[in-house]
Amino acid sequence: MNSPDLTANVADAETPISRPIRRWRSRVVYRHKLPIRIMHWINVIALSVMFFSGLQIFNADPSLSWGQKTVPGKQWLVLGAREDASGKLIGITRIGQHQFITTGVLGVSAGSDGSPQVRGFPSWLTVPGPTWLAMGRRWHFFFAWVFVLNGLCYVGYSLSRKHLQRDLWPTRSDWRGIGRSIVDHLRFRHPHGDEALRYNVLQRLAYLTVIFVFGAGIVLMGLAMSPRMDTVLGPVLDLVGGRQSARTIHFIIAWAFVVFVLIHLFEVLISGLANQLRGMITGYYRVDDPPTATPATIDKELSDD
């Protein structure tokens, strides 16, 4: 073979000596363009800071309500605390009518000096670590701008370069293959060759949801918490039921982002961490082409060898 063989192990496994040699071939493809890579990593930083500083802000009133206002005792989620008979702090998480003891993580966790402290989320999940609402807000609103401007650039770039239309919008055959795609994902089976270069239908739907439902939604819900913006966002407030509903949805989408990121990282991991990371850093991505079965190719391969 003329092409450098980067998949010797795979080739060995696939080519018993008695058969004509059919090898997996590898090629390196320029997959992710520079602007996309830059925007991806800016987004990683912005989302991380927004999430951790968001939990700092949440901790100032570690409860969630539905509707326009907060009614003490009527919140649907409370990360609270009480003292037991010996005066020890117990973290209590209440969801609706159900109470759970969550000492150490939610409600009560170690402060910077190591002693138990009443705080919604623990300090290792908040920016800054200690309870410091004013600083948490600074981080949050600064990176909110980074997140929004980066997101707008991404959508603008992707629309103008037809990245959205070509690579993210599911085609008709994508829709037809959705059942198979689900099964493939559940079996952790990943496509090879040209198929590995295009986003599969679940990936397309996931990315579109994250960009246009989570991304747009979390920004809109954030703005709906602003008393100044509420002068013009009345219809949005009516739609979701009020400012406290907006705070609830903002919180839920933040965790939905976390779920997406975990799935995303998992898929990156099982589909080849190094290759995927290289793809998003340098742009170059290795594709493995399975041995082709057409007689012409076999002939060619035989003659090559």
């Binding site: 500083s53 907060t70 004013a134 609103f141 100044r228 002068t231 013009v232 009020g242």
Partner: protein
């Protein structure tokens, strides 16, 4: 495989730890908070663009009013001056309005009631995250400003308060003239058809309906018009602003 998994776990936890630790170091630095704080000006300008200075805060129905209007911060100023006024149900209360005004004045609550007033059921959003709805009755701040005459070099209205936040640091707040002249900006003497209760700021508190709770100064003792608030308190325009909170509290 377990090695690999442990490595990945370490990497991920390390990355999260690095972000949090790095953020903490920047928070403690002299430049970090300033850079991060630059978003405040952007928020102010963009919000003023999207929601013009004339835009009205949403007003609610009687049925939406909270059973209890939650009080935060000081709920009973301890100063002798305030206690004396309270003992006499604020009959001797007089509000000086001075600074860069043409006619420095002292107003009683009855004097204030003779100026243009307004009743509004609005939402109060605390910076902590909770909201409460109440019905406010008060004099338009714009009417008070017209009454005393604002000098051209005045830019801010400063509210000095009776409550001490410990260590002899009095509460104070400030708004710009555009916010001060907004039709929903009140010097409120009534809450839910009664006089403003002590925990909510008796006898007179500010209502700035499109900003967060800490802007709504309680226990107002004096109003001053200034060209700059740099020489008041620590110079950031308010008690909480001096603790690092934004002067523009629109979000």
């Amino acid at each position: 495989m377990t090695d690999r998994r442990a490595f990945l776990r370490m990497t991920m936890m390390g990355a999260a730890g690095l972000i949090v630790a790095g953020c903490d170091r920047i928070s403690q630095s002299s430049w970090g908070p300033k850079v991060l704080g630059s978003a405040e000006g952007l928020n102010h300008r963009v919000q003023a663009l999207l929601a013009p200075s004339s835009a009205m805060a949403r007003e609610y129905r009687e049925a939406d009013i909270s059973a209890v209007f939650r009080a935060n911060g000081t709920t009973m100023p301890g100063s002798a001056v305030y206690q004396t006024l309270l003992a006499n149900q604020f009959r001797d209360y007089r509000l000086p309005v001075n600074g860069l005004v043409s006619r420095p004045t002292t107003l009683s609550i009855d004097d204030l009631k003779k100026l243009d007033m307004r009743t509004q059921i609005t939402r109060h959003d605390c910076v902590e995250g909770w909201s409460v709805i109440g019905k406010w009755q008060g004099t338009l701040l714009s009417a008070v400003l017209d009454h005393v005459g604002v000098q051209p070099q005045a830019r801010y209205v400063v509210f000095h308060c009776f409550d001490d936040m410990g260590l002899g640091t009095p509460y104070y707040e400030s708004v710009d003239l555009s916010e001060a002249r907004h039709p929903q900006t009140l010097l409120a003497y009534g809450l839910n058809d009664r006089s403003v209760p002590v925990p909510n700021g008796a006898p007179l508190r500010l209502r700035v309906s499109r900003q967060l709770g800490y802007k709504q100064a309680k226990y107002i003792s004096r109003i001053e018009l200034v060209a700059s608030f740099a020489s008041i308190g620590d110079g950031h325009g308010g008690y909480w602003e001096d603790q690092g909170y934004e002067w523009y509290a629109g979000i």
